[in-house]
Symmetry: C2
Subunit: 128 residues, 2 copies
Amino acid sequence: MPTTITSHANAIAETNEKFMIAFRKKDAATMARCYTEKAAILPPQSDFLSGANAIEGFWRAVMNMGITDVTLATSELVEFGDAAYEVGRYTLLAGEKIADRGKYVVIWHHERGAWKLHRDIWNTSVAA
Amino acid sequence: MPTTITSHANAIAETNEKFMIAFRKKDAATMARCYTEKAAILPPQSDFLSGANAIEGFWRAVMNMGITDVTLATSELVEFGDAAYEVGRYTLLAGEKIADRGKYVVIWHHERGAWKLHRDIWNTSVAA
């Protein structure tokens, strides 16, 4: 099994780019539209959050905590037809300061012509 | 796309069962053998840990912290040929006490006749 299949890497990278730009613009509604209709996110210190309203509310709350920027860096992307999994690293900034850095796994689905986040889990890499 | 394909659910459940039993027996070597050869785990407060030795060492360290039991409960399992993703909940016990509860995503690979964990990420659901 190949560890990276590149056929839709560009489309997935585009959604990640859109996600990061929306975060910087404090546009949680656009972030929520990067997810599938039946998406769930699995944030630390929270139960599962499902659906566009809950996901939008989560990211708005992160912005309201003073996080100003998110950077995503894909380290692995493997596709299976209309789905893919991505492993990567994230960095959160609060102004000039690194607020957190960690890693994530995203399950992607191809839904109505676009690649969208379907399951999204992450955790910090910073020691307690 | 089906949200659960059951063709190999039993094989995956068997590996999860083996994983839990090995934990209770403090047998980190058997736990490590539940993972693929090129597996990586993504523990909170840590960088990626890759390969059998690092994975075995991680689980031994968790045992040495006083965690006596892990319970895994699958809430979603979706297969794509020789791979699958699983979403679930975990509970860690320290004796009679719940030490942590949270959620996880595992990417499974079918490797030499067995279903094994290939990527394994989790985080707590307990509020900070």
